[in-house]
């Protein structure tokens, strides 16, 4: 049920998504729901079947379909409609966004890694020949080897080290230091000294050390990038939510389709059942039922009266209405939520990673030690080249290869373990943050509950009554009707169904009798609770009441008590009304809770907690939680959450269970301990290696071996996290 599933929104307005190049037009479409070979074959064949389309290729990993045609013969709307007709959600994809900064970064890292790998293998082959057989070589042969090594290693190392140079440059420009400063220094200096050695016919050159350093560090960087990039694909859907179209009623009564962002206050917009309000407005002619869960988190649809406001993002589930726009889309609620989200992400980017904090202590130590050693050898009367060699040996031997691998190695193992337990971790540093939290704040609807109403009293309703009610229910998109249809299982849908706004459905049977499904008033029943019941009445028979409730997640109470055992404070913030919130808090065992909280209050509450020195974990699903999710120290969203919330969250739950949250905190604490151990190992290694290198006792071969050994120890230590968890 895409927001744009109505036929009327498919106009030629999509032409702005079409890219033309050399007479070939391309359209990129984000397709949701494609999973298998069958889907690929169906979608590609379907799109290629459109007259004029010359090519269609679906990328299953990213869910992106690229369609091509010559000239302007094909309407982009026809392509999108074809994909939707095949049963998949489809949104045009803004090609300007495709090569976003993240993808470019990944591509550059991969290219650097490949080039560094080539350089390492080739240069090591040459240089090992010199180390092992250098004494037997003539000076001319050795020089040839050095120059060949230089010819390969200088360009490959400089190319492959771009990410380090760029990062070090950015840090220095801000008068800060990070790991990349000593790394860049070691790479540049060892290349420079090696060139000097080669020109002066010296014995020792470090060409292989420089390129191998870049190679080992790039492996860590690329692992880190893969972690962060894993869930990036969701980003496009938030934009899609905003780029919706609207049907504006012109003063002369004609209806035209325009982009929602062109709407101005005073415009009148037609909203059919199932359509999302593109901007804030008020209902003009009549009231309707609306699903406002995106805005408030309230699960049951509410009746919005004539003249009452309808917020952007609400979905009309009752009769079609006319909405008088009161705010531009950029001033509407969805836009507000996007801004909250951006603000939160900026606040979080201030977080300093463990590795960078280590670097702050490490960088002055390493550079200081190297310059002291340079000075010491000079004062002791050694030639400049010997002093430089020993100083660079210190830089290389202390170079944080082990540190560069230490953190990503632990994070890759930890996220792999959590993935198997049903939790997708989107960024490695989220685990570091998760290890610090002391308060967990839960949303109610869709987070502690499953987010969809379930029929409660199915057992007390005769089977034939349930089936007859379900026949009518199957024709409706109303959430309660859908829950009823779900409870009854598959079956036929009634024909001749009439919908009466704000009341219910009426079906005329073959025998002339009339069956009704809807509100208590519609079926002559005694209303108990408007939002959570449906009534059914056959002819003039006795009305039957169907009671619904949003089911609690099966292990909610268990997960909450597991978190409490870890010493974490629990709170619940719900946009829902007081009574259901109180009931749920009791079931889940939560003492601190608030009901009727709107998105801004949620975000403000999180900020207040953090200002008081707490580290907050936010667990929420709705778009109304997105701001709070982005603002919290760490955030988790269920897999059923709105795209924007999954995007804002650091971690996403794959299944219905909440237990992985408690396990994630446990794993995060273990991972943090392992990272600290790795730092300690690296520190011990450096304390031993620096004096040896400072005394000039280290040959490049030993330095390389020591470097590799320390990386290996750190990686093996990280793997301890994977041990013993397949239980």
């Amino acid at each position: 049920m895409g927001a744009l599933s109505g036929p009327a929104d498919l106009t030629d307005d999509f032409s702005r998504f079409v890219r033309g190049k050399g007479g070939v037009s391309t359209l990129e479409i984000a397709v949701k729901g494609a999973r298998c070979a069958n889907c690929i074959a169906k979608i590609e064949a379907g799109v290629k079947g459109i007259d004029g389309v010359t090519g269609a290729r679906l990328n299953l990993s990213t869910g992106k379909l690229v369609a091509e045609w010559r000239g302007a013969r094909v309407s982009p709307a026809a392509v999108i409609r074809r994909v939707r007709d095949l049963g998949y959600e489809a949104q045009p994809y803004d090609a300007g966004e495709t090569l976003n900064a993240g993808e470019k970064e990944g591509r550059l890292l991969l290219h650097c890694l490949v080039v560094a790998a080539f350089g390492t293998v080739f240069v090591m082959g040459l240089m090992d020949g010199v180390w092992y057989g250098g004494a037997d070589m003539s000076a001319a042969t050795r020089n040839l080897f050095f120059w060949l090594a230089a010819a390969v290693s200088v360009p490959t190392t400089l190319y492959a080290s771009q990410p380090f140079f760029a990062s070090a440059g950015r840090a220095l420009a801000k008068r800060q230091t990070n790991m990349d400063v000593p790394i860049s220094l070691a790479i540049v200096l060892s290349l420079a000294l090696s060139l000097y050695q080669a020109t002066t016919h010296g014995m020792h050159a470090y060409f292989d050390a420089a390129v191998m350093l870049a190679f080992l560090l790039l492996i860590g960087r690329y692992l880190d990038y893969l972690l962060r990039n894993r869930a990036r694909g969701a980003a496009q859907h938030l934009v899609a939510l905003q780029s919706a179209l609207a049907r504006r009623i012109r003063p002369n009564g004609h209806v035209e389709t325009i982009a929602a962002r062109e709407l101005a206050p005073g415009d009148r917009v037609l909203l059919a059942s199932g359509e999302r309000a593109p901007a804030d407005g008020t209902l003009e002619d009549a009231g309707t039922d609306a699903d406002i869960s995106l805005v408030t988190g309230e699960s049951a649809p509410v009746f919005v009266e004539r003249g009452a406001p309808l917020r952007a993002g609400s979905v009309v589930v009752g009769r079609p209405v006319v909405l008088a726009i009161t705010a531009r889309t950029e001033n509407s609620l969805v836009a507000d939520l996007v801004r909250l989200l951006e603000a939160g992400q900026q606040a979080r980017s201030v977080y300093v990673r463990l590795a960078d904090r280590a670097a702050r202590a490490y960088v002055p130590f390493v550079t200081g030690a190297a310059s002291l050693i340079l000075l010491g050898w000079l004062i002791a009367g050694a030639p400049v080249s010997v002093a430089m060699t020993n100083a660079i040996a210190v830089l290389i031997i202390t170079c944080p290869c082990a540190l560069g691998l230490a953190v990503p190695a632990v994070q890759v193992v930890a996220t792999g373990r959590l993935f198997n337990r049903g939790l997708i971790v989107k960024s490695g540093d989220a685990l570091e943050r998760l290890a610090q939290i002391d308060i967990a704040v839960f949303d109610k609807t869709g987070t502690l509950t499953l987010g969809a109403p379930k029929l409660l009293n199915a057992a007390s309703i005769p089977h034939d009554v349930l089936e007859r009610a379900a026949r009518i229910a199957r024709t409706s998109r109303h959430p309660l009707a859908r829950a009823l249809a779900l409870a009854a299982g598959d079956g036929p849908a009634a024909a001749n169904v009439r919908e009466v706004a704000g009341a219910g459905l009426e079906a005329a049977c073959e025998d002339g009798a009339v069956e009704r499904l809807g509100s208590a008033a519609w079926c002559a029943g005694q209303e108990v609770s408007h939002a959570s019941e449906l009534w059914f009445r056959a002819g003039t028979g006795k009305p039957v009441r169907f009671e619904f409730r949003d089911a609690v997640r099966p292990d909610a109470a268990e997960a909450i008590s597991a978190l409490k055992r870890l010493g974490i404070g629990i709170e619940m913030l719900s946009g829902d009304r007081e009574a259901p919130a109180a009931e749920l808090a009791h079931i889940a065992g939560i003492e601190n809770w608030r009901a009727g909280v709107d998105p801004r209050e949620k975000a403000a509450h999180i900020s207040a907690l953090q200002a008081a020195g707490h580290h907050v974990l936010m667990v929420g699903d709705g778009l109304n939680d997105a701001g709070a999710l982005a603002l919290a120290h760490v955030s988790i969203a269920p897999g059923t959450a709105a795209d924007a919330s999954q995007l804002a969250a650091d971690m996403v739950l794959r299944g219905e269970s909440l237990m992985p949250i408690a396990e994630a905190i446990d794993v995060a604490c273990k991972a943090r301990r392992l990272v600290l151990e790795n730092f300690a190992l690296a520190a011990v290694y450096n304390l031993a290696a620096v004096p040896i290198a400072a005394l000039g006792l280290v040959t490049p071969l030993i330095a390389a071996a020591a470097m590799a050994a320390s990386s290996l120890v750190v990686t093996l230590n990280a793997l301890r996290l994977a041990r013993g968890w397949r239980t």
């Binding site: 070979a37 690929i40 074959a41 299953l60 990213t62």
Partner: protein, 51 residues
């Protein structure tokens, strides 16, 4: 001098092979062969001879 010529030849050949492999890998990365590993795994199941 004969053995030095042999070494020069071998090194030149190794460099050529290495650069060739590097070029091929960069080309395959650039042409998008690794962009959709999931899709590639599924596509072998499609019967259509056009694909």
């Amino acid at each position: 001098m004969a053995h030095l010529n042999g070494i020069a030849l071998i090194i030149a050949a190794a460099l050529a092979f290495g650069l060739g492999a590097l070029g091929l890998l960069l080309w395959s990365l650039g042409s998008g062969q690794y962009d959709d590993l999931e899709g590639a795994a599924e596509r072998i199941l499609i019967d259509d001879p056009d694909n």
